[in-house]
């Protein structure tokens, strides 16, 4: 498919687009949040971009300054006065262009700033809303915009050598694990991050094996294979809806009761917490992250796990799953069951630092140098635990750490929690478990 160029808009059109985006996002809640900010600057102290660079421009609430300007001039109590006396300047095209770096390159939407604000403002959500305006202004980063456009049209963020459906079946064969495809009537509908199909086939195999072990009636759907949602990253709300609709329609078609989100952070947020709102009504099925699902299976006793041979390990809680998503106990319950010697990070659980790759930043080329500076914060923290292995349950985190490992020739590589579970299934009907990663 041809590349869709990011529309070259005139400055006026850019501003109009941004204002349209902001207007769509202004509501009682976002207005209340922007009204409550007292400019205390504490949110910077939570943001790994500010911590790594000490550069004031990365203060989270500063990233939504254009949104505040738009709101104050358009819909606030004193809007007429703001406009008349120019207390708040109109948003300009140059300003928007300058803010692209702040809203995309230097923000993973990880939500850590929302935990520290003394006024309780959910800064991360304001940033997500501001991205929508940037998208409408044609200022979404090219890499994200193209993938979002491509995924909205074809279902895949970028073209692939072979259709993902065939690659998936090939993985099944290679790892000798059943990969149910397009079954008509199942309990669970599966999907995978296209990152796993291309980079981590073992994770796909692990998912299939676990499902086989649990004897779940489940299936992949060739028209709804990809878990990622580049509309969410680029801020294109309509595209995000269309991309989610693919999965929703397929789940409805195969009468699934559960739509299982694989080890992918933003996919969970996009499906679990935002798809229904974009869809306009409640989803007729449950949306579970695979980690969450395995946690439930473990608790229910259906999933039995043996002790893993892993040495000491530390766990990176994916921001979208843990801090923003609420998948809290499952990962540690699974690791405990596998007798993993867990060494917690200094900032762990809901307060853990972001790996720096989320929110689409991993795909933005110009964000690379800054990303490497921020991921150092995380790497130092991981080394400080003295654990031999780093585990996580999100493929974007995994890719970020791999990329950092290559860049810094770091002595560790990220290990997927799902794969570890797949390798330690107790009494699996196949004693020779699949090829270890």
């Amino acid at each position: 498919m041809n590349d869709v160029l990011v529309p070259a808009l005139t400055p006026a059109a850019r501003v109009a687009g941004a204002m349209k985006g902001f207007a769509q996002e202004i509501g009682a809640l976002s207005a209340f949040r922007m009204e409550s900010c007292i400019h205390c600057g504490i949110c910077a102290e939570a943001c790994h971009y500010y911590i790594a660079t000490e550069d004031p421009q990365y203060t989270p609430i500063w990233k939504i300054e254009p949104f505040k300007q738009a709101y104050k001039r358009e819909a606030s109590a004193l809007a007429p006065l703001y406009r008349l006396f120019g207390f708040k300047r109109e948003v300009t095209a140059d300003q928007l262009t300058q803010w692209q770096h702040l809203l995309f390159d230097s923000c993973n939407m990880c939500g850590r700033c929302s935990l520290i604000c003394p006024m309780g403002i959910d800064v991360a959500e304001l940033i997500e809303q501001s991205r929508h305006a940037m998208f409408e202004a044609g200022l979404a980063p090219k890499e994200l915009y193209d993938k979002a456009a491509h995924q909205q049209l074809t279902g895949q963020p970028e073209a692939s050598a072979e259709p993902y459906r065939d690659q998936l079946l090939a993985i099944g064969l290679k790892f000798d694990v059943p990969v149910p495809m397009d079954q008509p009537d199942v309990d669970i509908m599966l999907c995978v991050p296209r990152t796993d199909i291309e980079h981590y086939p073992t994770a796909v195999a692990a998912l299939a094996r676990v499902m086989q072990y649990l004897r779940c009636s489940c299936t992949f759907r060739s028209d709804g294979l990809v878990a990622e949602n580049y509309g969410y990253y680029a801020g294109g709300k309509d595209w995000q809806r269309d991309i989610s609709l693919r999965l929703i329609d397929q789940a409805i078609e195969c009468h699934a009761k559960i739509l299982l989100i694989p080890e992918c952070g933003h996919a969970y947020t996009a499906l679990r917490w935002e798809a229904a709102d974009l869809y306009g009504r409640a989803l007729p099925f449950k949306v579970l992250s695979v980690t969450e699902f395995l946690g439930e299976e473990l608790k229910a006793g259906r999933l039995k796990l043996g002790p893993s041979t892993l040495g000491t390990a530390t766990f990176q809680d994916p921001c979208e799953l843990r801090r923003k998503g609420g998948v809290n106990e499952a990962p540690r319950a699974l690791m405990k069951a596998m007798k993993v010697d867990l060494r917690e990070l200094e900032n762990h659980g809901g307060f853990s630092f972001c790996c720096g790759g989320g929110g689409g930043v991993l795909d933005i080329e110009q964000a690379k140098p800054l990303r490497y500076r921020t991921v150092e914060v995380k790497l130092r923290e991981i080394d400080a635990t003295g654990a031999q292995t780093l585990m996580t349950s999100c493929s974007d985190c995994r890719r970020t750490f791999d990329d950092a490992q290559a860049h810094f020739s770091w002595d560790k590589r990220p290990q997927s929690l799902l794969e570890l579970v797949a390798d330690n299934l107790l009494g699996s009907n196949r004693s020779d478990s699949g090829a270890t990663p």
Binding site: A16, K20, F22, I26, E74, A75, S76, D238
Partner: protein, 370 residues
């Protein structure tokens, strides 16, 4: 009782058998009472003895004679006889034996004889209502008498809040359209000795200070001598430690009041009142209002009668008409204002939504085919 006015003070004192040492003692005591520097005592004594005995004219207008009572009650120094020897009181319709035409001619003669040199003491406010008819003496209104007397006065000493600031006659609704002296005579040096009545020693002290130094004492913006009106009652109140410790009487007979605690919560206006009550005290240093258990009512301040209840604490809002600032009134005000604000708020929200709508569906450029 015309005195031989060309005798100086010293000769006059000797005529009355008052020795030099007694006079030095009197001056030392006066200086101490006036809180003036002690070395002024002997200096005052020598200076006074050579001074010409100034002529004093005491005119009473719309007043209750409370100030004159206070004037003659002055205890320290033993003033009553000495003041009449030091100063030749040429006219005082309360004290003088003469009356009717004799009194008026005495007044005219005194004014004519000492034209430009006599001290004019005025007591009481000057009513201008009904052409000054509200206060007349011998067919002449107070306003005319004052204007005429003021022409030849070297200085005018307004004794009492009535002459100084209008006092109670001046209070709302002021039926007689009473005015303070300063509102009628503008071109003469004037000293206000306010108080209702003023402390006796303050009147005599101010008079003596002028007589001995021949100049106006240091005056504050209200033209009151700073020697007596320089500090607030609150700053000189012996109960101040209780104010600082937060010990307040809550009612006039509760444990706090009996222990002599601060009367701030019972409406004491000490903090905004400048006078010497707390130091000189009344009745020869016996006591003063606060010491007797009642809050200061700020009688030496302008408009003290119109500042609302004497028992509403100084800090209450409005400090105005009693009951006007009751919580109910505050609630009504707040609710009405909030309602108005609400209406504007609804308008703002409506306007905000409308502008949002216009921004979401911009007219003009065709909607992109999304």
């Amino acid at each position: 009782m015309p005195h031989d006015s060309d005798l100086n003070v010293g000769e006059m004192l000797r005529r009355h058998g008052v020795g030099r040492r007694a006079f030095i003692k009197f001056c030392t005591a006066t200086v101490s009472a006036l809180a003036l520097p002690p070395w002024m005592g002997p200096a005052m004594a020598d200076q006074l003895r050579e001074a010409r005995r100034p002529s004093v004219i005491y005119l009473s207008f719309q007043e209750c004679t409370g100030c004159f009572e206070s004037f003659t009650r002055s205890f320290a120094p033993t003033i009553e006889n000495l003041i009449f020897n030091v100063v030749s009181l040429d006219y005082d319709d309360t004290l003088m034996a003469a009356s009717g035409d004799a009194a008026e001619s005495a007044l005219a003669q005194a004014m004519q004889q000492n034209f430009g040199k006599y001290v004019l003491i005025v007591d009481g406010s000057i009513p201008t209502g009904a052409g000054g008819a509200c206060c007349t003496a011998g067919g002449r209104s107070a306003v005319d008498s004052l204007r005429e007397a003021a022409k030849g006065a070297a200085v005018i000493i307004c004794v009492g809040t009535c002459s100084a600031f209008g006092g109670i006659p001046f209070a709302n609704p002021n039926p007689t359209e009473a005015w303070p002296v300063s509102a009628i005579i503008g071109d003469k040096p004037l000293i206000n000795v306010s108080g209702c009545p003023p402390v006796p020693e303050v009147i005599t002290g101010t008079l003596l200070q002028y007589v001995t130094t021949g100049r106006l004492p240091d005056l504050d913006e209200q033209r009151r001598p700073k020697a007596f009106f320089g500090n607030t009652i609150h700053d000189r109140c012996y109960r101040r430690p209780f104010y600082d410790e937060g010990k307040f009487a809550k009612s006039f007979d509760d444990e706090g009041a009996r222990n002599g605690w601060c009367l701030y919560e019972l409406g004491c206006k000490g903090p905004t009142t400048y006078n010497a009550c707390a130091t000189l005290k009344w009745n020869g240093g016996t006591s003063f209002p606060i010491e007797s258990g009642h809050g200061c009512i700020s009688c030496s301040e302008p408009g003290f009668w119109d500042k609302g209840s004497l028992y509403a604490p100084l800090a209450t809002a409005e400090w105005g008409k009693a009951g006007d600032n009751s919580p109910v009134r505050t609630l009504e005000l707040g609710a009405a204002a909030a309602a108005a604000g609400g209406v504007i708020g609804v308008g703002s929200a409506g306007l905000g939504r409308w502008r949002q709508h216009r921004r979401e569906h911009p007219i003009g450029n065709p909607p992109e085919d999304e």
